[in-house]
Structure formats: C-alpha cells, structure tokens
C-alpha cells in the first residue's frame, strides 16, 4: 500500500491534519462550540470556489475566508453565534454562493465533489508541505493561548476578574479553529470536518477526565481513524471520506452506548454521598 507515492502523501497529509483537528477539537468540544467549527468549514466553501474562479488554489481561498469568518464570529461575540437562525442562513448562503461560483467554472462536478466531501488521495506532495506549515502554525498558536483559553472557558467571570479578556481569547481560538477547519476540509471536505474535529474529541472526553490525557487521546483517535479510513479506501475502492467518517462515528458510538447504561446505575449513589 505504501509503495505508491500518492498513498504515502495521503497518509502524511491525513496524519498532519488529524493531529491539528484532534487537538483543536478538544477545546471546541470543551467550550460547547462544535457548531462553530462546522459553520466555518461551510463558509470556507465560498472561499474555495471563489479562489478556483479567479485561478488561485482553493486551499488559500478556504483559509482566507474561514479565518476572516472566525475572527468576525469572535469579535461579534457569543450572543450572535448562538442564534441558530442567523447561522443557518449564513451557512445556506455560503454554500449557495459557492455553487454559483462553481457554475461559472467549467470543470464543475469533480471540483465540487472534492471540496464538499474531500479527496485525500489527490493531495499532492506540495500540498502536504502547505498543510504541515498551516498545522504547525495552528498548533503553536493553540499552545500559546491554551491556558487562558481553558480558564476563560471554564470560569469566564473569574477569568475576567483576573484580567483575562474572554473575548480576545474566544476570537484567537476561532482563528485557530478556522485554520484547522480549512486544513481538515482538504482531507474530508467541508461537509465532513465534524468527523475529524469533533468525533475524536468528544470520544476522548468520554474516556478520560484529565485535560492532558484528553488532548493526547483526541489526537491519537483522529490519527488512527483517518488511517483506518484511507486503508479501507485502498482495499475497497470506496471513498476515503466515507471510511474516516465511519471510523469516527463507530468509535464514538462504541463509547456512548455502554456509558449510558453505566451512568444510569451510578448517578443516584454519587449524588447522595
């Protein structure tokens, strides 16, 4: 399987992206902002198709628009981003506008499919380097903001009192999420970023109560699930994105089902203690 250069590039690209998506996703789930990651990727579709139209690589259009949207969401504050209707309308418009841009572009169908659902087997060696650079920048930024971000997420009022600007860190974090979502969209497409950004993180938070272990587990799960998806695609000729989404979904379900029973048995006793 690894004899083919395109397979090696696919594994490399998926690994790089999974590390970033797993780490960023942990904080996204912790903050209850999973929908923001989903929304940013959708908005990125407009950027990607717009870039194609003007002859720029879609990745750059994707990054530019998601980062801009992330910054905007952060600065507008949480009251706006929690309005379902507003977000839903913006998402619909973003996808619609993206379709319009594609309409003006000739090789419409294949481009649309790979943007929407990803095609990691088509990632070039050059793109792997670009993804590595984007991923390194996102991880470095996340490392710098992680302590105040955690404080602001868990105890916003206390954090404000201690001099932490919750809005500043919310905005910086959404920029990191935007970069991570743009990179993730290269692997699984804008519609399926949930599979790598949210699935592994949510699974990790069900399996451990420790923050450090949770981040590492989230990263490990994202990497393993993306490898599983690519391997499945190699032997079956099914789309890689299907394999990744299936692995992510099944692992999450496997942790949810037993723990619901477990909680029913345990919760009452813990409360009375």
């Amino acid at each position: 399987m690894l004899d083919y250069a395109f397979m090696r590039d696919a594994f490399l690209a998926a690994t790089v992206v999974a590390v970033v998506a797993g780490a960023t996703g942990f904080f996204l789930v912790l903050r209850g902002q999973t929908f923001a990651g989903h929304a940013l990727a959708h908005v990125g579709f407009t950027g990607a198709t717009g870039a194609v139209l003007v002859g720029v690589a879609p990745l750059w259009g994707l990054v530019a628009v998601t980062v801009g949207a992330g910054l905007g969401m952060g600065l507008l504050g949480e009251r706006w981003t929690q309005r379902d209707v507003a977000i839903g309308m913006v998402l619909a418009m973003a996808l619609g506008l993206g379709m319009l841009f594609l309409h003006f572009y000739t090789s419409f169908a294949s481009e649309a499919t790979s943007l929407l659902f990803g095609n990691v087997l088509a990632v070039s060696a050059g793109t792997v380097w670009v993804l590595a650079a984007l991923g390194a920048a996102a991880l470095a930024a996340l490392a710098v903001i992680s302590r105040p971000l955690l404080f602001a997420s868990l105890q916003p009022e206390l954090a404000e009192a201690r001099g932490v600007s919750t809005r500043l860190y919310a905005s910086l974090f959404l920029v990191v999420v935007a970069v991570a979502a743009a990179a993730t969209a290269q692997i699984v497409g804008v519609l399926l970023v949930f599979a790598l950004m949210v699935g592994p993180a949510a699974t990790a938070q069900r399996l451990t109560r420790r923050i450090g272990a949770g981040v590492l587990l989230s990263v490990a799960l994202a990497v393993i699930e993306s490898w599983a998806g690519i391997t499945l695609a190699y032997y079956t000729d099914w789309p890689t994105s299907f394999g990744i989404v299936a692995a992510s979904g099944m692992v999450f379900l496997a942790t949810v089902l037993p723990s619901t029973n477990h909680r029913h048995g345990r919760a009452p006793r813990e409360r009375t203690s």
Partner: protein, 280 residues
C-alpha cells in the same frame, strides 16, 4: 488599613444607576453578609470591587489600593460558571484552570502550583472530591470545589456571590460553616451575598443591606429594623423575630423567602438534569 472602602461611590450599568453615593468600610477579617432583592446591586457591587465595573463617581479601595482587575488579594466565587454543558473534567483540573490562568502558555502545572491546588482542596476539606468528575458532583460538593478555586493564591478578601442558590437547607448550612471556618482560620474578610438572612445569622459579623440604590452596613440589630429597611426598600417593612430567626416582611409576605423561592425555581428548571437541587 481596611479590607475594603467605598467613598461616595456611584455604580451604573448601561447608563442605569444601580447604587448611588455609597460610603462603607469593611474591616480586615470581617464576615459581612450582603443582602437585598434581585437587582439591588449585590453582584454589581462585587464586580466594582473586582475592578470589572469602574465607578461612575467616587473611589473603591481594596486593602488600601484602588480596585483593579487581576488583584491577587481578592478571591471570587461568581454566581455563574462556564461548566453548564456537561463538562467531563475532574474537579482538580477545573480548579487548576485558575492557577496562573491569565498567563499565556500550556496549562501544565509546576510543582509549586500543584501544591497550591492541593492546599486549596485541603482548606475546604474537598480532598476526596479532587479526582471526581465535576459534573457528577452534587450542588453542595460543587460549591466546595469552587470555593477551593476562590481561595487559590491566599486572597485576603473573599467575594462570594450567592453561593447558597439552589442548595437545600442542610447543604446551605454546610457551605456557610465552611466559609466561616475559612474566614477564621485564614483571618480574611468575606463578603457573602444571599437572598435570605437567616442561614447567615449565626456566622456574620455585620450585614450590608442594599435597596433603592442605597446601602446600610452595620450589626444585625442596627440594620435589620423596620426604620432602616423601610427607608431602603421605599415601602413599609416589618421585621419579625421568631426564636433565632428574623423575617423581613412587606405587607403580609416574607420578601426574602419569596425572592429566594422564585430564584430557586428558575435554578431548578435550569439545572434539573444535574440533580443539583435536592428537595427542600
């Protein structure tokens, strides 16, 4: 030097006057109960002490220095936290998030920081809760853990915003006595806001009543009188003493109990799934 002074302080929220021309002084090591109806300004007053609401007029001083954000001498237990959506973290990680939380970097504790977190858990008698998942704790256990967070870094003034909300009487008295022990052992001043006076009667040194934009600070005998409270509330108030309890009545209803019950109900609705509210 006093723990806290307000000199001619007026506080406004969005252009609306909340408190006007307040003068008060809290001594070091003093336990002050902060009372008043919803919207009387209890939270706003605490936020002014934290430097989050700059006074429209006057001066707020904490331990001899102007109130400012990030003052390590002030510990704070806010009424609301960001842990509503089933955060699955151990209690010790939740508390540790406040340790050096304002500094950029990875949230990894060095040995001294870890010792400080352990010390805070010991102070509030919550060692056995440290490894438990925060969202599985009962309401009383959560307040105990969040108190540990509030006393991190040895503050000399502790602000507790409604820590008794949605607790049953038994857990209320547990939290009240825990805070009293902390205040006595550490020799720190405490501002403890509540809807009802009675749970605090046994432990407080003085009481601060807020109402109608004004404040009255003094002993229970000085402040909790029909004359003082009628002036604050702007309507005739009766004070009825039954045994060791005091009831503050407007007309025929007990205004503190009603306010508390109303608040308790909304809380129970919001937190029904966590089982925080145990039947009263």
């Amino acid at each position: 030097m006093s723990a806290l002074t307000f000199e001619g302080v007026s506080l406004e929220l969005g252009g609306r006057a909340v408190l006007s021309d307040i003068d008060l002084e809290v001594r070091q090591g003093e336990f002050v109960g902060v009372l008043g109806a919803n919207g009387a300004g209890k939270t706003t007053l605490m936020r002014a002490v934290l430097g989050l609401v700059p006074p429209a007029r006057g001066k707020v001083s904490v331990l001899g220095r102007p109130a400012m954000r990030g003052n390590p001498d002030v510990g704070y237990l806010p009424q609301a936290h960001g842990l509503g959506h089933a955060v699955r973290l151990r209690a010790s990680d939740v508390v540790a998030a406040a340790m050096n939380g304002h500094r950029p970097g990875l949230p990894i504790l060095n040995r001294a920081a870890r010792r400080e977190v352990d010390r805070a858990f010991e102070l509030v008698g919550a060692e056995r809760l440290a490894g438990r998942c925060f969202h599985e704790l009962s309401g009383g256990e959560r307040q105990r853990v969040l108190l540990a967070q509030a006393v991190l870094g040895s503050p000399r003034l502790l602000l507790l915003d409604e820590p008794l909300i949605s607790l049953d009487p038994h857990h209320q008295s547990e939290v009240v006595h825990l805070v009293k022990n902390l205040q006595r052992e550490l020799g720190i001043a405490v501002l403890f806001s509540a809807h009802e006076l009675n749970p605090l009667l046994a432990v407080l040194d003085r009481v601060l009543y807020l109402g109608g934009g004004h404040a009255a600070l003094g002993s229970v005998a000085e402040v909790v009188t029909p004359a003082v409270l009628s002036r604050l509330y702007g309507s005739p108030i009766d004070v009825v003493r039954v045994g060791r309890h005091i009831f503050v009545m407007a007309g025929s209803s007990d205004i503190e109990r009603d306010a508390h019950r109303h608040r308790g109900e909304t809380q129970a609705h919001a937190g029904a799934a966590d089982g925080a509210a145990v039947g009263a």
